[in-house]
Amino acid sequence: MRLIIKICVLSCLVSIVSAQESSLQFNTNMGLFNSSINEPLLAQSYGFLDDIEKANIIDALQSENYIQFELDNQLKYQHKNGWSLALSNHAGLYAKYSKSLIELSLLGNTPFKGDSLQLAPLGLTAFHYSQIKASFQWDPHFSTSLSFIGGHQLATLQVENAMFYTEKSGANIAYGLEFEAHYSDTTDLLDNPFEWNGMGAALGFTFNDSIANGIYEISIQDIGFIKWNESTSNRYVDSQWSFDGVNVDDFIEFNDSIINNDVDSIKDLLNRETQDHYTWRLPTTINISTLQNINSNFVNAIQLSLTHKLTIYDLPRVTLEVIKNLKKHEFRLGYHTGGFERQGFQFGYAYKGKKTSIQLFTKQANSIIPSQNYGLHIGIGLKRVFSNSK
């Protein structure tokens, strides 16, 4: 901890390179996405689901499906000498599930008699933490950051294998399950959502430079970890189970208690957990973008961005944006694919005053078309400049 503070202070004191201005920024960003269920289908998915509605849901699913929630808030002070200090809070949920899991849940196992259903991929990462980040710009192209992190809540589930089998006559059902799960102490979640259940640190690097008629930027953020405390529950399960029914000596003398005993034994198997520290690797974000100015009456620039969250995304999120500036107003319209979101349009608007800047953007510009709406998102940025560099 002392080392981190020393590095922060040292970074602040060293003024090899000066920034352009001193400013205070507030950025917020909230979104809920899913990759497969659009707004009309979601609206039908309340109350009792009949066969048609179940079929619609299943038809809409991909073999692999995602749900994402993110909420980020940041207050940042940027000094004209190049250093900055930011206080932020991040909550995120990234879940992926297979179509076969939903099919099994909605239809039961009867339609799958004789089949072996692979229920993976199945995973969940949910977190909530606060961060103090100190950054320093070493030269016009390169900056680094160092963060101290206080972890509030964590839940992770990583299923490596989940198989469910029903024999063709129903005479046997079996599963194979291998997963790893961790979750922090949630006993005080509602009363104290900002309770500290872990501590960690992270590093960040950003590099940018000019290229032809534009610029490019490469940044790597959140290279770090959170060590969750000893109240963290950890489960490692690797089990196979096969059920042929209860073997009864006297066939007609069985009752639900016999079956319950079998069910209890499965519960015992799945509920074996330990409570201990758990070190969680932050989902490191790699961002590569390039902006190319264009001399056109309609478009001033285009920007291509690639964002990848290690351990979360299977594929990076790629965005192509066109940018139009009208005096102090900037408009961005883009299309994205990859990541945890359904591919679609995104939109951004920025007002760039001399002292004040405002930014509004959404990653779900499709929201205005219900059939193409797979989530809600809004981001707001406010910036106030105090002084310019000499």
Binding site: Y46, G108, N109, S169, G245, D250, N255, L360
Partner: protein
């Protein structure tokens, strides 16, 4: 800036247009195995009355056993409670001889003379002159150290006078009497008692009462004197009176009595048990109750014993105490002593009788050192009760007796069947076992089968006369053999050749009625008999049916208890998958019943559990697999209320009308699968 503000408001409105959240729910089709089992006809034998024997060709023979008679003869040796009372009076009161003495010294006599000590100094020599009436006096004799009062039946008192004075005495008259009484007990009259001489007077104490406070009076005693001779004056010289009470026989007394036995009684308790002649009994339950009543004002110690009752070689005996009775009253004590496990010799003290228990009792008083009143009028009243003895076993002649009994035995196993049974072969044995050490004649006077249609009598020459069953033999008790008895056995065989037994069984009887007459010891010649508790004469009916039968539309019904709780279970079905190697078709119907037996749901299947295919030898060549489906709708409520499931199984042997043989390796593999529509939310 204004436009941005407008956009924010629109976004807020859009995001606030949330759908009213209604929890999603849906029905899902689930399939799960519930239970599986392998049924073999041998597994059905959970009743001790049925077993299967495997014959040499691996075919099965059904053996059904039911008890017809279980006749115990414990009542023969029921030794009922019997009491005997004895009032024991004291025969004698022992009291040892007692001696008390008194001295009149020369010194005391001289002191009573004026200037006597000057005239006759101690140690001096003087001539003792003659005196008259010098010795006249009354002096106490204290015997309270030994008794306060005694009344004698007999005895003697000796009054002894020893003259140790230096002078002769003459005209000595002396009386001994109770203090303050005028009547003398002993009177002594002696004309001359020379110095150094002794005189004795004896009186009888018969009828006398002697007090501990006695007194003796010297009515006259003249001192003859020594003149002219002088004698040495020694003040310790004395006239000694000694009283000896001897050879006494007390009527009563208040005294410190020595230890003495006050009674020693033998008692004989004889049981009346008809012509049964028991020599020995081992007691399972029983004991002795003693009620002792005493008027003796001292602690009575009582020892009671039955010398002929032993346990591990030790005779049965016990001790107890009767506390001192209050003055003028009595004390009573009741004690019970268990002699379970004891072996009792019932042949009396001399071994020459039967059905008799000989007892001994003794009572005594220990010398307590305390003055006690004892009278020959005192008594100890003993009531000895032999509480009901339940023998664990008994030995002797068990008597000759005739018993006539009737039994009815439920015979539900065949009556549960609907349809027709044709038994190709049957043999029935009535096996009688005698566990009593006495021979008997048994006559089955009636054997009949009863069902709804009426009664059918067994007709057989085997029932025309009684049969004799010999005495059982006792196993070696030293080895604690189990069972302790080897029964004698007799078997009567009935088959379709010597009786109508096949018709009896094919009538599917519900009750078997059985009358018999039993004569024990018909020849009255077995003195060395025995009988054990809970062992008597039993008869079992053993029915042997080779499982080669033709059954058509045989219906078996059974009901089992069940307790299942399920929710949200809608339409679906149960599937019963059966892999059958029995050449028997089966239709199975299940009915869910509530606690009052009311029908909640009937589960029927259109399919039949198919019989296996048999080869030319009638043996299964190809097992069959059948799936029986039992559809249902909204069964949750019925299952939750269900307390019983009634099964109805209709059986048909295949091929029809042809006997099939059942082999021991035939099985049915059953699996019950549930297919149902389940509501989730």
């Amino acid at each position: 800036m204004k436009s941005i503000f407008h956009l924010l408001i629109i976004l807020l409105l859009v995001s606030s247009c949330k759908h009213d959240f209604e929890k999603p729910s849906w029905n899902t089709d689930l399939t799960t195995p519930l239970a599986y089992s392998q049924l073999n006809i041998l597994d059905l034998v959970n009743d001790s009355s049925i077993r299967f024997d495997t014959l040499s060709d691996n075919s099965l023979k059904l053996i059904f056993i039911t008890e017809l008679i279980n006749f115990e003869l414990d009542s023969l040796i029921d030794l009922e409670s019997i009491s005997t009372s004895k009032n024991v009076k004291l025969e004698t009161i022992n009291f040892s001889n007692t001696t008390v003495s008194h001295e009149v010294t020369l010194g005391s006599l001289i002191a009573s003379i004026d200037f006597g000590t000057l005239l006759f100094p101690n140690g001096g020599n003087a001539v003792i002159p003659a005196y008259s009436d010098l010795l006249n006096d009354t002096f106490p004799i204290d015997a309270n150290e030994y008794f306060e009062e005694m009344t004698f039946i007999d005895g003697f008192i000796d009054l002894k006078i020893n003259n140790q004075l230096p002078t002769d005495l003459s005209n000595v008259q002396l009386e001994l009497r109770n203090k303050n009484e005028s009547t003398s007990i002993v009177t002594m009259n002696i004309p001359l008692l020379p110095s150094g001489q002794t005189a004795i007077e004896t009186a009888s104490l018969a009828g006398q009462t002697l007090s501990g406070d006695l007194e003796a009076e010297i009515l006259s005693a003249d001192i003859v004197g020594t003149s002219p001779n002088s004698v040495t004056i020694d003040y310790s010289d004395a006239l000694i009176a000694e009283i000896v009470i001897r050879d006494i026989n007390l009527q009563e007394g208040i005294a410190i009595f020595p230890s003495q036995q006050i009674f020693d009684e033998d008692t004989v308790v004889a049981f009346e048990i008809g012509d049964v002649r028991l020599q020995r009994v081992v007691v399972d339950e029983g004991g002795v109750e003693v009620v002792g009543v005493s008027t003796i004002q001292d602690t009575i110690k009582i020892e009671y014993s039955i010398p002929g009752a032993t346990l591990n070689g030790q005779p049965f005996e016990f001790y107890y105490q009767l506390p001192p009775a209050p003055v003028g009253g009595s004390i009573s004590v009741t004690k019970f002593f268990d002699f379970s496990g004891y072996e009792i010799d019932m042949t009396g003290k001399l071994g020459d009788t039967i059905n008799t228990i000989y007892t001994e009792s003794q009572g005594w008083i220990d010398s307590s050192g305390v003055i006690t009143h004892i009278s020959l009028e005192d008594s100890v009243f003993n009531t000895i009760t032999i509480k009901e003895i339940i023998p664990e076993r008994a030995y002797g002649f068990l008597g000759t007796d005739t018993f006539q009994e009737s039994y009815s035995s439920e015979f539900i196993d065949f009556s549960n069947f609907e349809g027709e049974i044709d038994l190709s072969q049957v043999d029935v044995t009535i096996s009688t076992e005698n566990y009593v050490g006495a021979n008997a004649n048994v006559w089955i006077t009636n054997f009949s089968a009863q069902n709804n249609s009426g009664t059918l009598d067994l007709i057989s020459s085997n029932l025309s006369s009684p049969f004799n069953i010999s005495s059982a033999s006792e196993n070696n008790q030293a080895n604690q053999a189990n069972p302790p008895i080897t029964p004698s056995e007799n078997a009567l065989l009935f088959d379709e050749k010597n009786s109508n037994i096949d018709a009896i069984l094919e009538s599917k009887p519900e009750l078997l009625n059985f009358d018999f007459e039993l004569v024990l010891n018909p020849n009255s010649n077995q003195d060395s008999g025995f009988i054990y508790k809970n062992y008597g004469i039993t008869s079992d009916l053993e029915i042997g049916v080779p499982l080669a039968l033709s059954a058509s539309h045989i219906v078996l019904r059974d009901t089992i208890d069940i307790d299942i709780n399920v929710e949200n279970l809608f339409e679906g079905s149960f599937t019963l998958v059966a892999h059958n190697t029995y050449p028997i078709d089966a239709q199975i119907k299940m009915t869910l019943l509530d606690q009052n037996g009311m029908i909640l749901e009937e589960l029927n299947s259109d399919q039949v559990l198919l019989a296996s295919e048999v080869n030319a030898n009638g043996k299964t060549s190809v097992p069959t697999t059948s799936e029986l489906t039992y559809p249902f709708t909204s069964i949750s409520e019925s299952l939750n209320q269900c307390q019983h499931i009634a099964f109805e199984i209709k059986l048909n042997t295949q091929p029809e009308n042809q006997p099939v043989t059942i082999y021991s390796d035939y099985t049915i593999d059953l699996k019950l699968i549930a297919n149902f529509n389940y509501s989730l939310d």
